[in-house]
Amino acid sequence: MSASTSIYSLNKTNREIERDILSPMEKFPGKLWWFTFIINAGLMLMMLGLIGWTFVEGLGLLGINTPVSWGLYIVNFVFWVGIGHAGTLISAILYLFRQRWRTTINRAAEAMTIFAVMTAGLFPLIHVGRPWMVFFIFPYPNERGPLWVNFRSPLLWDVFAISTYFSVSLIFWYMGLVPDLANMRDRMKFEHVQGKISSFGKKLKYAFVRILSIGWVGSGKTWIHYEKMVMVLASLATPLVLSVHTVVSFDFATSVIPGWHATIFPPYFVAGAIYSGFAMVMTLMIITRKAFKLEAYISIKHLENMGIIILVTGMMVSFAYTMEFVFAAYSANAVEQYVFINRLQGPYAWAFWTMFACNVVSPHFMWSKKLRTNIVVLFIISIVVNIGMWFERFVIVITSLHRDYIPSSWEMFIPTWVDWGVLVGSFGFFFFWFLLFVRTLPSIAIAEVKMDEGHDQLAKGMGH
């Protein structure tokens, strides 16, 4: 990076930065937070209740049937895994691309990734019907005779890919947090010396930040090691970002079902995942910056950049849709062609056209500088894109299955209220964690922001 002040300069002192970012963690949450938290916790409990009911009663409560044996659970699974892509993309890939604007959004985006992957992980678990047997998929030495997991099954690769991604993302996120936790610890230490830490809650919090900051001292040597580690983790996390949705796409593409078997699926799914992930980051960032008054940190320029990424990835997704249709037309394969005509005109055409309007048309509003610097427009687009990406998975999963090769095995898939309840509840589950996060951990990487500010101050001093 050249030594010049950047448009992202804050012109704030370290003390101000700490105060701005840490103050939400040092106050008792307000009414708005409790209100949203209780609603989301309620939705989460509803979901857990419904899941418990399906365990007792069976999967007959859902809309799945033959041939549509993969219903909304799988749609939701792919949707949430997709959301979980932006965080590590921002923290790892944008880091490698030297995108400075990632500094203020990476922490919350990484947290979002972790919660989204947790949410996604629920669905295969409850989809199998007998979740107490799920441990079968772990390849550990067992005494069930020659029984071993099927290494040729992409469903098993999913377990490996997602758990690896989750572990590395968690480590990356936590390692980034360490200097900030130490910062929180040192601020509390000051209060401790003054005798201000008296309540049990505060003592507990002090103990936690002391343990979690694992003896961080912030010496020059520590920072050298730390920077090296970030680089190595970023390089390791980069292929993982691509691998997760690649493997998820294998779940479909390895099959011989028309509409599922397409070799373009891996990069197409990854582009879609980044697209939806960025839309979700945008939704969350617009809310967070408003609620915690962080507008100076997550500026309109940051949101504009995210808007541009949404535009670019949206066009990549459109390209993939186009190519699917081009190849179906070219294929001279009646079944392949029928699947795509059925998407356009069949009983689920409404889902296809919803997807089309949301994913293909809506990002093009981002061409206009005026629109992509308008927060209301960005907020609406971010939600529209997420709706579109949910429908994309609906179209892929449901429309490809509901018409089997012979018309006698055609069946419509109609989600039941339990299906919808679990979908709504999964949002409650996701926001439950996210709301806990924003109140307990710094949602902006303080140390990184200070470092960038330091560079700017230095550059100014040198007269560049």
């Binding site: 390895t254 011989v256 070799t263």
Partner: protein, 389 residues
């Protein structure tokens, strides 16, 4: 700013390469005409890849607002000039359409699948589409180049804004037209076969080839007394891009072949199966090793990417492998029993011919313009550029 003078030695070498290339094709026609037709197509397609690769690089740097790459952007902007030669070669391909494309034969009407594809795979449609794409590429590439050259004298933000818009349009048009042109020129050589990943596969190969060519051209120019502004910091980033696309190619290749193998659909597997028989049995694994494994291992080194004289060796090798990949794509329709090992003196000669044509045109155009986009508002950022990690 003084423009660059191409030393006579380099000029002679490149002209000699062109002579070797033409000689190989002419000799090839006397030995095995069918193979020579395929070789001509490979030459044409490789030149398209090089020319569009330059435009892709320039437009990617422009739309991403990149600062570091300004000093190396002029050369890839000029790659478009190669497309005039491609225009000539395309006429030759049109003349030889029956020697290359099975669907153009009258018997194709009796083939059920080819008959159904006739609405797309017919001579008139093919000719019109290719001419349209070529015209668009030349128009867009020239437009981008001209605006960039205009910026050398205007030196203002508004010209840069126009340039970024042109680059955006370029990359969008490039994505669709290059994909469709590749379907026409290459995929339809085996007209019963199709796979959706094909369009991404050829793009991965294009980016890989383009970055190799860029590194080599910058190095040659620099060795002969110009572009002194480019230092190891810039080479490091070009090397990183090459590494990234080496990995990307492997990712796409693996995904395509693994999914083909797994699903094992007759119309799809035939493509890979054909390329694992006879002469291909050795060729294909070698392609995977030398297109990915070996350059990947070398390019991981930070040291190597920062030493131009070392990086250039890897780049020369990857450029060659980019050509070998084109052979892999194009030659599959030939009778594998007859051709033996799909790489012989003729293909080697064609490779020299291709780099001769491309190198000569681009370097010759380079002597007529400013060495750097001197009017670019980000030029200073590029000159001051240094790696922080």
């Amino acid at each position: 700013m003084k423009s660059y003078e191409l030393p006579g030695k380099i000029k002679n070498i490149l002209l000699a390469f062109i002579v070797i290339g033409i000689g190989s094709i002419v000799a090839g026609f006397t030995v095995d005409a069918q193979r020579a037709w395929a070789g001509t197509l490979a030459l044409t397609y490789f030149l398209i890849v090089l020319a569009l690769g330059g435009g892709f690089f320039a437009s990617l740097q422009l739309i991403s607002g990149s600062g570091w790459s300004v000093v190396v952007r002029r050369i890839p902007e000029l790659a478009v000039n190669t497309l005039y030669v491609v225009g000539g070669l395309i006429i030759v391909i049109f003349l030889g359409i029956h020697n290359l494309y099975e669907w153009s034969h009258p018997e194709a009407a009796h083939d059920h699948i080819l008959h159904q594809k006739h609405w797309f795979l017919n001579t008139a449609g093919f000719v019109i589409r290719i001419l349209l794409f070529l015209g668009l590429w030349i128009f867009m590439g020239r437009w981008m180049k001209n605006v960039s050259i205009k910026m050398d004298s205007t030196k203002d933000e508004s010209t840069k804004k126009t340039l970024v818009k042109v680059a955006g349009a370029y990359i969008l048009i490039f994505a669709y037209t290059f994909s469709l042109a590749s379907i026409d020129l290459v995929m339809s050589l085996e007209p019963h076969w199709f796979t959706t990943m094909f369009v991404i596969y050829v793009f991965a190969g294009l980016a890989y080839t383009a970055f190799s060519a860029l590194i080599i051209l910058v190095y040659i120019v620099q060795k002969n007394g110009a572009l002194k502004e480019v230092n190891e910091e810039h080479y490091h980033d070009m090397g990183r891009f090459l590494l990234a696309f080496t990995i990307f190619w492997a990712y796409i290749t693996f995904s395509q072949h693994m999914l083909t193998w797994y699903a094992n659909l007759v119309e799809e597997t035939v493509y890979l199966e054909r390329r694992l028989r006879d002469g291909w049995a050795l060729f294909t694994p070698l392609l995977w090793i030398f297109h990915f494994v070996v350059p990947f291992a070398f390019l991981l080194s930070r040291e190597l990417k920062r030493k131009p004289e070392k990086l250039i060796r890897v780049a020369a090798f990857t450029l060659f492998m980019g050509f070998v990949d084109v052979i892999w794509l194009v030659y599959g329709f030939l009778d594998s029993k007859k051709i033996g090992f799909p790489f012989s003196w003729m293909e080697a000669g064609i490779f020299f011919g291709a780099i001769g044509i491309f190198g000569f045109i681009v370097l010759n155009s380079y002597t007529k313009v400013n060495q750097l986009p001197v009017g670019d508002p980000k030029l200073k950022e590029s000159l001051d550029f240094h790696q922080t990690y």
